[in-house]
């Protein structure tokens, strides 16, 4: 594990047992999240983004999930733990305290029967040893911090009395209540409308900077990545195909899949033109995949691509898993 990393995922495999067979949802993911960075995880639906993120908290149903690989987490006190080997009893000491997560649909992620103040206080009671008035004061602070005002009054309301954006603010307040080192935002803004989305992103970035925590931002929206991430990884069919700083990812994407994704972002001022799509569909993860998973959809694929799985190569923080790294660059630059 690097010195400045908080979480290091090494060769993570997540296999889900289903009635149709074993789904290899995550196939050898390596991911380093550095202290204080916002790391984006991009890819289309079903490519294993959420699976990877949930593994960091071990949220999967363990009776139906097989993990292999390693997830190392540096705790606040400096010690290192291997999340996948932790006894179940110790999981609550990580969840919420070291790593917190917010989900896609904030309206149903809150218990409908408790007031939001109660829910935040409950979190504080579980993880801290503060006294009752201290907990209450902290809860109001948190609500103020995420812009729920007047905090006192609104803390006595129930989840259904809030809009989606407000509910997501509450989720954020809850997630941040125990000062986690890493916040995982799983499509946290996808269910919100564009203006609210911008506000929430702004809020998350602002809080991240103030508290100095790291963030793993899962999204399928490149716009979000461009807006707030420092670094980003692109996933395809359970594997990370490219990792680099956001600047480089947009300026000089290496993997044909990344380029195709960036190409398919709708742009304004080109009315009348057809939207660019990537032909084909992602492969089924029920069968083993030989060679590069993207090869069947890749216009540059060669025999080598179909046979041999490309390793991650590259330097200077820009890595890519492609035999032809760099090929077809002109495509992107010409648009």
């Amino acid at each position: 594990m690097n010195k400045d990393s908080i979480v290091s995922v090494q060769d993570l495999n997540v296999n889900l047992m289903t009635t149709r067979g074993v789904v290899c949802a995550v196939r050898g993911v390596d991911l380093e999240i550095k202290k204080g960075e916002i790391h984006g995880l991009v890819g289309e639906s079903g490519c294993g983004k959420t699976m990877t993120a949930k593994s960091i908290l071990r949220l999967h149903d363990e009776k139906r999930t097989l993990y292999s690989g390693k997830i190392l987490l540096k705790k606040t006190d400096g010690s290192e733990v291997s999340v996948l080997e932790l006894p179940r009893k110790e999981l609550p000491s990580i969840r919420g305290e070291e790593v917190a997560m917010i989900f896609q649909d904030p309206m149903v992620s809150l218990n409908p029967l408790l007031t939001i103040g109660d829910q935040i206080c409950e979190m504080l009671r579980t993880h801290t040893e503060l006294s009752k008035p201290e907990i209450n004061a902290r809860m109001l602070d948190l609500l103020n911090m995420v812009g729920i005002r007047p905090a006192e009054e609104r803390s006595r309301q129930y989840p259904f009395e809030f809009s989606g954006g407000m509910a997501q603010r509450i989720m954020i307040a809850m997630a941040l209540s125990c000062d986690p080192q890493l916040l995982i935002a799983d499509e946290a803004t996808t269910a919100l409308d564009v203006t609210t989305q911008a506000q929430i992103l702004e809020l998350m970035k602002d809080l991240q900077r103030r508290i100095g925590m790291s963030m793993l931002l899962i999204t399928h929206n490149f716009g979000v990545v461009a807006e707030i991430c420092d670094r980003a990884s692109v996933m395809y069919a359970g594997k990370i195909v490219e990792t680099s700083s956001v600047q480089e990812l947009f300026d000089a994407p290496q993997h044909p899949y990344t380029r195709a994704l960036i190409n398919s972002i709708p742009r304004s001022g080109r009315s009348g033109e057809r939207l660019v799509t990537i032909p084909g569909a992602p492969p089924s993860l029920l069968q083993p995949i030989h060679g590069c998973a993207f090869a069947p959809r890749c216009q540059f694929a060669t025999e080598q691509c179909r046979q041999i799985q490309p390793p991650m190569t590259g330097t200077g923080g820009h890595e890519c898993a492609c035999h032809l790294a760099g090929a077809g660059k002109e495509d992107v630059q010409s648009v």
Binding site: L57, R95, G96, A100, N111, T126, E153, R156, M171
Partner: protein
């Protein structure tokens, strides 16, 4: 300004329900004061009378006053039916929660044992129990309580399965709540409304099942009065003197409906979205100048 929680529990239907329920309960507590006759006094001269001014609900086949028997009978009936339900709740809900939440082998074990209990006719199992622990109302209550466990725990289990998959449970897990806390503070309250509805219905069946046991000589011993026992005794006269069945039957229905209404209203109050708001006029006043 301090905002109070504006939902209210005491709406008109709730007040009426509570009043009637209080009437039933007070009558059973103060039975000796309220009942016009001794419930066990025979009066063969006045047997099988239709309702008269002297006997408001008539008399039974040995001339006992039906109203007095109903009032005295409510004591044992209500207490034992409630006890049956309480026993089944105490055992059934935790079993259902655990087996629904953890699944796997534990779930299988619990469910198979309950299948065995369900496979026997409820009364047969109760006989078994009474036979081994002696003829008394207590063993009848415990037996029925156990027989009712599978129903409650299966219901709880299926509700738990439903709630377990909801995002709020996952988010509760992601912030490090213990399983016990998630089960009892997050999942259970979200199941409670459905469970209470089942419970109020169970009170009704408990009254009838206890009556069946009493009829077979294994529950309440005669001449003690009990609604279920009265119903059983009366059914021989249903064609000639229907009052013998109608009176205890109505008492059972009324009680069950009252409990049911109460639970519905509790359920509505517990769910913040369904909670009754104050009258519109008052809301308007609270909103100040905002509402025209």
């Amino acid at each position: 300004m301090k905002q109070k929680n504006v939902g209210r529990f005491f709406t008109a239907p709730v007040i009426i329900t509570l009043a009637l329920l209080a009437l039933v309960i007070l009558a059973s507590i103060f039975a000796p004061l309220v009942a016009p006759y001794n419930p066990e006094a025979l009066d063969m001269a006045a047997k099988l009378q239709m309702p008269t001014a002297a006997h408001l609900l008539g008399t039974d086949n040995v001339g006992r006053d039906i109203l007095s028997r109903l009032i005295f009978g409510s004591r044992i009936t209500l207490l034992s039916a409630l006890a049956v339900v309480v026993i089944s709740v105490i055992i059934g809900i935790p079993l259902g929660l655990v087996s629904g939440y953890y699944g796997g082998r534990l779930d299988n074990l619990i469910m198979r044992v309950e299948d065995v209990v369900l496979a026997f006719p409820a009364l047969l199992l109760a006989f078994l129990f009474v036979a081994s622990f002696g003829k008394s109302i207590t063993s009848a209550i415990i037996a029925l309580g156990i027989v009712y466990v599978p129903m409650i725990s299966r219901l709880t289990r299926s509700l738990t399965l439903m709630e377990r998959g909801k995002p709020y449970v996952e988010s509760a897990r992601s912030i490090g709540f213990s399983d016990r806390r998630i089960l009892f503070r997050h999942i259970l309250p979200n199941c409670v409304s459905t469970i209470t509805t089942q419970l109020t219905l169970d009170i009704g069946s408990a009254i009838l099942d206890l009556a069946a046991l009493s009829f077979l000589g294994m529950g309440v011993q005669p001449p003690t009065s009990d609604w279920g026992a009265m119903l059983e005794e009366g059914h021989a006269y249903i064609q000639s003197d229907p009052m013998l069945c109608i009176a205890p039957g109505c008492a059972i229905i009324l009680t069950v409906v009252l409990f049911n209404l109460l639970s519905d209203n509790i359920q509505m109050y517990l769910d913040p979205f369904q909670r009754k708001l104050p009258p519109f006029k008052k809301l308007k006043k609270m909103a100040g100048g905002l509402v025209e």
